[in-house]
């Protein structure tokens, strides 16, 4: 009997020794987070309101957006937000009359102030905050209306051949497209490069580029372009009526129908419904004359004028199909010809070679409109190329690469039959998408 009791006691001891190590709640849990907004300009901060600034939190894990508004002091406290990576933006639109009243400065259009931080990591600690400084950007008469960068299916569509950019006259008067520049904003395309100088936001640190003057803000006051194209013309050769647009095609042909490439072979989309007709484009990019081995699909449509090419990338105006690019349009308000502007190499840690590529440095003040696009895959998004005053966030096509989708600027109003497109310098707000790109279409 004693043996039995002893044995049972041993077993009871063993059971009680089985310690559990899990807690009752996960160590990671929703946290408190505070947003503080202010105006970047001290003078404007004294005059302009900070209540009802629209705050948008987009969760990069699932692309879900939640919108909040600031209190009168410009702050907003979230009691419970899941840790993770968020695109956080702040935006306030002040009517022209209110702005004039408050600041004494007469303006004809509503003024939009934006601020943002892309891919902000909210950690597992309580009491975190973010300070967003609101800044107004340019809202010019020209806007980038539609960008079709994704292309169509590589086997059944036209792949990247059918890409285009559409630029729109958003003003109430006739504009001339002559000498309008279209550029791709250069920036880092990954998170991992170690052989190059980078800013805290992981973007290139252009101030370290070889030959860069030290008395300028190389990162914030300039954009560096990869492809840089210019609409030709004599000055008043290409008028664009209010509410009209120009389409710049990579190759201005009807991609729904077979056509013969420069190598004599027929190029055809097996499923024409996936692609578009660009034979009616206003301009096209034709790189063949200056390439030793041009792209077979880059044929010249004699009915469509070619743009002037100041710099290029690749064998045609091939836009980054996943979308990781910035686009700018500008005119030259200065006296120095754009082709004579300084060019700089990448800010590599090792000195660049004499033959290293160099890129045009475009003053931010020249820029009329800018749009940043990104990939639909949150984990593949890269550091922002455009600062908040040019484009607070970014836009993308939801179905991603080779989906036939384009990003298109939203219609804000129709005045006397003229469509006015939304332009708050925040493409996340201003843009939507088309399931099939549609030159000169609206949304």
């Amino acid at each position: 009997m004693k043996k039995t009791i002893f044995a049972i006691a041993v077993i009871v001891f063993l059971f009680s020794a089985c310690k559990k190590y899990q807690g009752d709640i996960p160590e990671i849990h929703p946290v408190q987070f505070k947003v503080i907004t202010s105006y970047a300009s001290d003078n404007l901060a004294k005059a302009l309101p900070l209540s009802k600034v629209k705050l948008t939190f987009k969760n990069n894990k699932n692309n879900k957006e939640n919108i909040y508004s600031t209190q009168t002091d410009g702050t907003f406290s979230l009691d419970s937000i899941s840790p993770g990576s968020y695109d956080i933006s702040a935006s306030i639109e002040i009517s022209a009359s209110e702005y004039s009243t408050l600041t004494g400065e007469t303006v004809s259009k509503n003024v939009v102030f934006n601020a943002s931080e892309k891919a902000r990591t909210i950690t597992i600690e309580n009491g975190q905050s973010i300070h967003l400084k609101l800044i107004a950007g340019p809202t010019g008469p020209w806007v980038i209306k539609q960008i079709y960068f994704s292309g169509s299916n590589t086997t059944t569509g036209a792949s990247f051949r059918d890409q285009f950019i559409e630029i729109y006259n958003n003003s109430d008067s006739v504009l001339y497209a002559d000498s309008l520049y279209i550029g791709e904003a250069l920036g880092i395309q990954n998170f991992t490069a170690v052989n190059i100088y980078r800013q805290p936001n992981s973007q290139y640190d252009w101030s370290k580029a070889q030959g860069m003057p030290t008395n300028i803000d190389a990162n914030n006051d300039y954009i560096y372009t990869r492809a840089l194209l210019m609409i030709p013309g004599t000055g008043k050769q290409y008028p664009v009526q209010p509410g009209n647009s120009i389409v710049l095609a990579q190759t201005a042909v009807n991609h729904k129908a077979p056509f013969t490439g420069s190598d004599g072979k027929v190029i055809a989309a097996r499923d024409p419904s996936l692609t578009i007709d660009l034979s009616g484009a206003d301009f096209e990019a034709y790189y063949a004359p200056f390439l030793p081995r041009p792209l077979a699909s880059d044929i010249d449509n004699p009915l469509v004028p070619n743009v002037d090419v100041l710099s290029y990338n690749g064998t045609d105006l091939i836009l980054e199909t996943s979308g990781r690019m910035g686009y700018i349009i500008f005119k030259n308000p200065g006296t120095t010809a754009i082709k004579d502007l300084p060019k700089y190499p990448y800010p590599t840690i090792a000195p660049p070679s004499a033959s290293a590529d160099r890129y045009y440095q475009i003053p931010r003040s020249f820029i009329i409109d800018a749009v940043e696009t990104q990939t639909n895959v949150a984990t593949s998004r890269i550091p922002k190329k455009l600062i908040a005053s040019l484009d607070a966030l970014y836009t993308y096509v939801p179905n991603g690469i080779y989906s036939s989708q384009s990003v298109i600027r939203k219609t804000e109003a129709i005045v006397n039959g003229r469509i006015i497109l939304k332009d708050t310098n925040n493409s996340a707000e201003d843009f939507d998408f088309l399931p099939l790109a549609n030159p000169r279409g609206f949304k």
């Binding site: 077993i11 996960p26 990671i28 929703p30 299916n153 590589t154 989906s403």
Partner: protein
């Protein structure tokens, strides 16, 4: 190649059992085996003994061999969100007990092939249900699964039967793949080993312990055959998500592979007390700790994603009392699984999984003339809680499951055997907690979390009916056919203040037919 090896093992196994089964009265053995399988109490003891070699000499018959070819068909949407609305399973299994000199051997081989229709958000095996890290999509998929399982235990007594030593092994290999996009392919295998030792302290009381060690591997890959779908989210329901815990998944259209390496260790403690007056008491305590490491592998590097720790505890008491014509068994069990993850990104855990069940089943068998009556009564409380710290989700439910059964089996003097049984089941919803942040409501929350909560918080009732008939064949075997039907239906769904895009169906039906050989 692996499959061939398994088949060779099966042949060797089968031969060993057949050789040992060649006793003079082969027909008598076959008839006994059939009667044994029809006796809920005795067969319950046999099932209990499969847990460890410590019990196989005590609770298993000296010889018992069976072979079963089974076809199951289930249909209905009264199911969990990640289950299949239609499942067809074909299985072949053989198992038996045999004596090899003084060693008692038990072995089982099974082959299962199932075809699942309409399963979503679940590129998973069906064997790792606490798994917090997997791919899934809204799109309903057709899954085909093939699983081979080989189990064996051996026990030998030493020192005048005072000391018993045993070895056990459990090997499973499976392949799971979907036949439509997004195509998941999961290959997995598990190997678990056990070494036990027991000692008879007194003639009536024996104590034992065992050490368990196991290893497992799951490799998951998701791909698209239709290149249009692979080039982005052309149709949103084809989007591949990475589920990490119990919250919204992350859109994951690149690097769609993950490997899960599992290692588990545990120990058992046993107590067996046998007394002519009181019957046989058998107690098991088992605990194991499993670590699952999820990573992404290329030829260049291994990227570690998360770790998942799972602690299991199992207490089980089985009491068996036999008289000349009656037998009673009572089985009381408590089982719990507690899991938490560890995210390398945050250096902290975000997901807790817990379930526990406390249950008892009683069986009473009466043998009278040529009839065996089986009465069964079961009651089980089941509670499950999933907490996802990142999403802010905390969901718990508590259920009570009743079962009541009666079966009768008749064997005539020609050893023709028929049986029929009826089972009533009731799954009663008791209580629950529901905390899900609306700010995080997305496709997974709507399609899985809300759906499962609705499913788990409604009461259900079911009924099962089975019948079988067997006759002696070829003088050495008892061959039978068994038919079974079951039907589940639910009550009204609980309103928990959320809009459901999809709700659990009203009922689910299943049928099975099996060919059984006893020898």
């Amino acid at each position: 190649m692996k499959h061939k090896n398994i088949l060779y093992i099966l042949l060797i196994f089968g031969t060993a059992f057949r050789a040992s089964a060649q006793i003079n009265d082969a027909q008598h053995t076959a008839t006994d085996a059939k009667q044994f399988s029809a006796d809920s109490v005795q067969f319950g003891a046999y099932d209990f003994a499969k847990i460890s070699p410590f019990f196989i000499k005590k609770l298993m018959p000296i010889t018992f061999n069976s072979l079963k070819l089974n076809q199951v068909f289930e249909k209905g949407t009264l199911m969990k969100a990640q289950d299949a609305s239609k499942v067809s399973t074909t299985s072949l299994s053989t198992e038996g007990v045999s004596q090899l000199n003084s060693i008692t051997l038990w072995g089982l081989f099974s082959y299962n092939r199932s075809v699942e229709d309409s399963t979503s958000f679940s590129h998973q095996t069906r064997n790792n249900l606490a798994n917090p890290y997997y791919f899934g999509s809204v799109k309903n998929l057709n899954y085909q699964r093939t699983v081979y399982n080989l189990k064996a235990s051996a026990s030998k007594n030493l020192l005048n039967d005072h000391l018993s030593v045993g070895l056990g092994t459990d090997y499973r290999i499976g392949n799971h793949y979907s036949t439509n996009d997004p195509r998941g392919e999961i290959s997995d295998y598990q190997l678990n080993l056990l070494a036990s030792v027991g000692y008879h302290i007194t003639k009536e009381l024996a104590l034992g312990t065992a050490y368990r060690h196991g290893y497992g591997l799951e490799k998951v890959n998701v791909a698209y055959k239709n290149s249009s779908l692979s080039q982005g989210k052309v149709i949103p329901e084809f989007t591949n998500y990475l589920i990490n815990g119990y919250g919204e998944g992350e859109e994951y259209n690149e690097r769609r592979t993950v490997q899960n390496n599992q290692i588990r260790n545990g120990f058992d403690a046993y107590l067996s007390f046998e007394n002519k007056k009181l019957g046989s008491f058998n107690f098991i305590f088992q605990t194991s700790r499993e670590k699952q490491k999820f990573d992404y592998r290329t030829s260049l590097a291994i990227t570690e994603y998360i770790n998942f720790n799972l602690v299991s505890e199992n207490y089980r008491l089985f009491w068996l009392k036999k008289t000349a014509s009656n037998a009673l068994s009572i089985n009381v069990s408590y089982k719990s699984n507690t899991g938490d993850n560890y995210m390398n990104v945050y250096l902290a855990n975000s997901y807790l999984f817990r379930n526990k069940s406390l249950g008892t089943q009683a069986y009473y068998s009466i043998r009278k003339n040529q009839l065996t009556h089986n009465f069964g009564l079961g009651l089980k409380q089941y509670e499950e809680r999933k907490q996802d710290g990142i999403a802010g989700n905390d969901i718990r439910f508590n259920q009570l499951i009743y079962s009541l059964s009666y079966g009768v089996n008749h064997q005539n003097k020609n050893n023709h055997n028929w049986g029929i049984s009826l089972t009533g089941l009731y799954n009663q919803y008791l209580n629950s907690d529901f905390s899900v942040l609306l700010a995080n409501e997305g496709v997974f929350t709507k399609n899985v979390i809300y759906y499962d909560y609705a499913y788990n918080t409604t009461s259900k009732f079911g009924v099962g009916l089975s019948s079988d008939y067997s006759i002696p064949m070829f003088k050495q075997i008892q061959a039978g056919i068994k038919l079974g039907l079951s039907y589940w239906r639910r009550d009204e769904l609980k309103d928990f203040g959320r809009i459901l895009t999809n709700t659990p169906g009203k009922d689910r039906f299943s049928s099975n037919i099996s060919l059984n050989l006893y020898f």
